[in-house]
């Protein structure tokens, strides 16, 4: 398997050269990172190049790195990671691009390259507020009609801002600010490296 991954990463290096910001081989997976400007071009080459031939887009996932490692994040905040699969060559790659502007993240849409990107990009837009330029129908998909905000951003509380209930007096459903107290049973902890490695356990 690893010889195949070597071959894949070599091909990727040959085809893209300087365009690649980074190429990481970890956990038996290849991750390539490109700039937002190159994103669409790289996607097209990944699909059409005869030695790569990623004909299937499996998934697109929005990412918000703002609290990564429980510490302030220095780089760009929003990214979009696409998982690609080549049925012909039987290999996978992860393509990631960071959006340049944190306040208004914009990336190119890959809908023209892979039609299956349509809903995945709608989802990333809905949950993270990443704008995909060239998307034919960028509507919200998972959240409620008329929902405000992008719930998967790290600064959005888990319980949200509004709750809905049936008001018997008004005889209809009303929205009101949430009444749930936020609570955390197990705190989120990032331990230093080699934590608990005392040599005898």
């Amino acid at each position: 398997m690893s010889a195949k991954l070597e071959r894949l990463s070599q091909t990727l290096r040959n085809v893209f050269g300087e365009t690649l910001q980074s190429l990481v081989l970890d956990c038996g997976e290849v991750t390539i990172e490109v700039t937002a400007a190159d994103y669409l071009k790289v996607a097209r080459t990944l699909r059409d190049h005869v030695d790569l031939h990623f004909e299937q887009l499996v998934d697109i996932s929005g990412l918000d790195f703002s609290t990564y490692g429980n510490s302030p994040w220095k780089g760009k905040r929003f990214a979009s990671a696409a998982h690609l699969l080549s049925v012909r060559h039987n290999w996978r790659v992860r393509l990631r691009a960071f959006a340049d502007d944190d306040a208004f993240p914009v990336l190119d849409s890959v809908c023209d390259v892979w039609p299956s990107a349509n809903w995945n990009e709608r989802e990333a837009f809905d949950l993270y507020g990443i704008m995909y330029v060239g998307h034919p129908d960028l509507r919200r998909i998972l959240t409620d009609y008329g929902f405000v905000g992008h719930p998967f951003r790290k600064d959005f509380p888990v319980s949200g801002y509004v709750e809905m209930r049936y008001d018997p007096e008004q005889g209809r459903v009303v929205y009101q600010p949430v009444t749930i107290e936020p609570r955390e049973n197990t705190p989120r902890i990032v331990r230093e490296e080699n934590y608990g490695d005392v040599g005898h356990g």
């Binding site: 956990c27 997976e29 004909e55 499996v58 998934d59 996932s61 990671a81 888990v158 197990t186 902890i189």
Partner: protein, 417 residues
């Protein structure tokens, strides 16, 4: 001259054939669908966000509730992603147990799909037959995990416990007399493996029964042959996986192509369709159940002969045994740390995909080294399938929309997440 207008109708979310909470806005020209716009998210619970606030192990039961007809497969992908990040080896016996239960789950899922698909398009009897067998398999779930559906049986590093030596039994009550109960319990005297083996011996005959009811059924064929035809190129472009892809003639199955656990030691075949219509996909699912049956038999044989541990002995990942915990200070510390703080997963990202009954179910986990996931993305096969609804339904009659929803095997737990 009369004015001709297109009709727009709402299909669902309360429609019984919407398989849950699908709301679809259909634009109709007479009875022909011009455009289908599925509205999803009515069952959105934010599982991925919730998982970010729970420790890694606490999220295992959430996975059951994604695709709530193939519970253990979801857990499997999730545990595999964590194991890949941790670099933990799963004991061989646990791998066999996982494969066996994945296949039990596949049969459970396909039985539900074929039964309800039949129900949707006029074959009322199917569901009665398929749910009879589902009951047996649910009992297997119950015996091993204590829950009929939401098992939470797989854990990072293995499975929660070894297979039980006894099966739960029926009891006499005012509806069931002594004789009935004795017949029902006939196969339940032995261990879980005995019961499952008995089931695998009975199951091919049941499959023949289903085939008698459907495969040559004139009405069933009228409703499914030539409906929702997808070419192999389209299927790949739309991100189809599983029976939806194989029905179009692409021989792609992760169990064969990118084998995980012990699938490379199993002897089984991958059925593919020819025409890419609803009928071919139905035939694929039928054959897959028979193949799953074969795999289960092979797993039972191996599991009988090879006892061993079922969860990793790395106590930074899996808890130590109760006895060790009480006798050994080191293990007590491990136990305490695991149950208060949870597993720490090293920095990195992993995408683990399995051949879920519906297609490729993937878990993309990003960890920053904490005791909770930094980001968890669940790749649901039904999401990609439903996204192609517009293209698949266009030009079909409104009644065929129901057949297409049925063949997609949508479950909203996983699509809305």
């Amino acid at each position: 001259m009369a004015e001709i207008r297109n009709y727009t109708i709402n299909f669902g979310p309360q429609h019984p054939s919407a398989h849950g909470v699908l709301r679809m806005v259909l634009e109709l020209d007479g009875e022909v669908v011009e455009r289908a716009d599925p509205h999803i998210g009515l069952l959105h619970r934010g599982t991925e966000k919730l998982a970010e606030t729970r420790t890694w192990v606490q999220s295992v039961p959430y996975m059951d509730r994604l695709d709530y007809v193939s519970m253990m497969c979801n857990e499997h992908a999730y545990c595999m992603a964590i194991e890949r990040l941790l670099g933990v080896q799963v004991p061989e016996r646990a791998q066999y147990i996982r494969v066996m239960f994945d296949e039990v789950t596949r049969i459970l899922n396909h039985l539900l799909n074929i039964g309800t698909h039949g129900l949707d398009i006029g074959a009322m009897t199917m569901v009665l037959y398929t749910f009879r067998e589902r009951e047996d398999l649910m009992d297997v779930y119950e015996a091993v995990s204590g829950a009929r559906m939401h098992a939470a049986y797989y854990r990072p590093g293995g499975v929660y416990r070894d297979l039980p030596d006894r099966m739960p039994k029926y009891e006499v009550n005012k509806f069931r007399n002594d004789k009935v109960v004795r017949d029902l319990n006939a196969a339940r005297d032995g261990s879980l493996l005995d019961f499952l083996e008995d089931f695998t011996n009975r199951f091919p005959a049941y499959c023949d029964e289903y085939e008698t009811l459907l495969t040559d059924n004139r009405i069933w064929k009228q409703r499914t042959v030539g409906i929702g035809v997808v070419s192999p190129e389209q299927a790949l472009a739309w991100g189809f996986t599983g029976p939806m892809l194989r029905g179009s003639g692409v021989a792609w199955d992760l169990r064969k192509k990118q084998p995980y656990e012990v699938y490379d030691r199993m002897d089984f075949d991958i059925p593919i369709g020819k025409n890419g219509d609803c009928y071919d996909r139905y035939l694929c699912r039928m054959e897959e159940m028979r193949q799953s049956n074969r795999i289960i038999k092979q797993c039972i044989d191996w599991l009988r002969k090879n006892p061993g541990p079922v969860i990793t002995d790395n106590h930074k990942v899996a808890p130590p045994s109760r006895e060790d915990m009480k006798a050994n200070m080191e293990e007590l510390i491990h136990h305490f740390k695991l149950f208060t703080e949870g597993i720490h997963v090293p920095k990195g990202e992993a995408y683990a995909a399995i051949e879920h009954p519906k297609g490729e179910f993937g878990v993309y986990a990003v960890s920053d080294g904490a005791n909770k996931p930094y980001r968890l993305k669940l790749r649901a096969p039904g999401f990609a399938h439903l996204a192609a609804m517009d293209d698949m339904a266009r030009g079909h009659m409104i009644a065929d929309v129901v057949a297409i929803i049925g063949t997609m095997d949508v479950v909203f737990g996983e699509i809305d997440r």
